[in-house]
Symmetry: C2
Subunit: 199 residues, 2 copies
Amino acid sequence: MPEPDTDRTAPSTAAAPRRSDATRAAILRAARERFAADGYERATIRAIAREAGIDPSMVMRYYGNKEGLFAAASEFDLRLPEPDSLPRARVGAALVGHFLDRWERDDVLTALLRVGTTNASGAERMRNVFRDQVVPIAAAVCPDPAEAPRRAALVASQILGMALARYVLRFPPAAAMSREEVVAWLAPTVQRYLTEERP
Amino acid sequence: MPEPDTDRTAPSTAAAPRRSDATRAAILRAARERFAADGYERATIRAIAREAGIDPSMVMRYYGNKEGLFAAASEFDLRLPEPDSLPRARVGAALVGHFLDRWERDDVLTALLRVGTTNASGAERMRNVFRDQVVPIAAAVCPDPAEAPRRAALVASQILGMALARYVLRFPPAAAMSREEVVAWLAPTVQRYLTEERP
DNA sequence: GTTGGTGGCCAACACTTGTTGACAAGGCTA
DNA sequence: TAGCCTTGTCAACAAGTGTTGGCCACCAAC
């Protein structure tokens, strides 16, 4: 039965390591790079396999199909700080800075954004990251927890929008701004979305 | 020579109308719809032709190739108000409201956003709209015209981000907000990006 | 009526895509 | 040594892509 191997994505789990773990990792790395650079449709399995230095059929064996590969490659942890650990009055600056770092160090965010705009399951993956990782932060910080989803959505809109303009569409002025400048402008906005009373 | 007909996109120009103008318009309408719904790669010429009720080869005759079709279909005017006509103190609310209207009434914006994230010429089209239509508004409103591009980029980041969360990724809280609510939250942000002294 | 251009369809092209199955080499255990 | 599972390659499939050229029907002018 040519069913894909189950959950051999994370070598950190208890199961014994296999000889193929290196190949699996190479596929994932290549997949993230291609998805981030080209989006879902133009990131072909053949191109990913070529970049990983193996045969395309290996991708199918280990991840079932292209959707499965994307699901594995787009697993993502924002690594947001513990809500209690950040000073209430400076959440805005802390979050903006953190997101900029994550965005510049990890291809997966760009991949998610590119794929999310064109592909249904990419968009769903994005919604899940938002629900599971962004909303809780808002809930811990904003005055009325019932409003957390809305405030989190506002924050996400500003941060995703800046990432879009800066890293994907590459509007020259957005790309040219320094990291500090971006933080200085966006932090008050995010701060307001999170902590200020309703307008 | 099978060169595509030149600039027969706008029947409003002085040239005499042709019998094929209706077909051309139908193609453009279908193209905008497919590009907006599916992005560049998945919006196939065959699907567009089917939706327009004609043969795929007609698309080639009138627009040369797929890129040419996209170029024609993504021509876009934001129809921003004259800078002088809006009260300096309420530019924020006026702009946010205007953009929400445009976004909900015209497929082209969604098409531009979807295609811009995956396709090089889509992104370039997007940068041009930004440069030619958004920056001038900022230049007319913000205190130091030399800062106009940066301030325009900030405004664009917030507005594009909200459009992304609301219309493309469909984060539930963003999609559920009323128009007035979005304006109430975003207007102060845009106002600050445009008129406030540097942070 | 004949000519010529215009609008349209049809069938095919060369190519790429995701995906599959057969098969060979290498190591593990019995 | 024999057998089995794993890792891997190769060649092919069916479907769908953008694109092309040939052909037919109409319409106007001569």
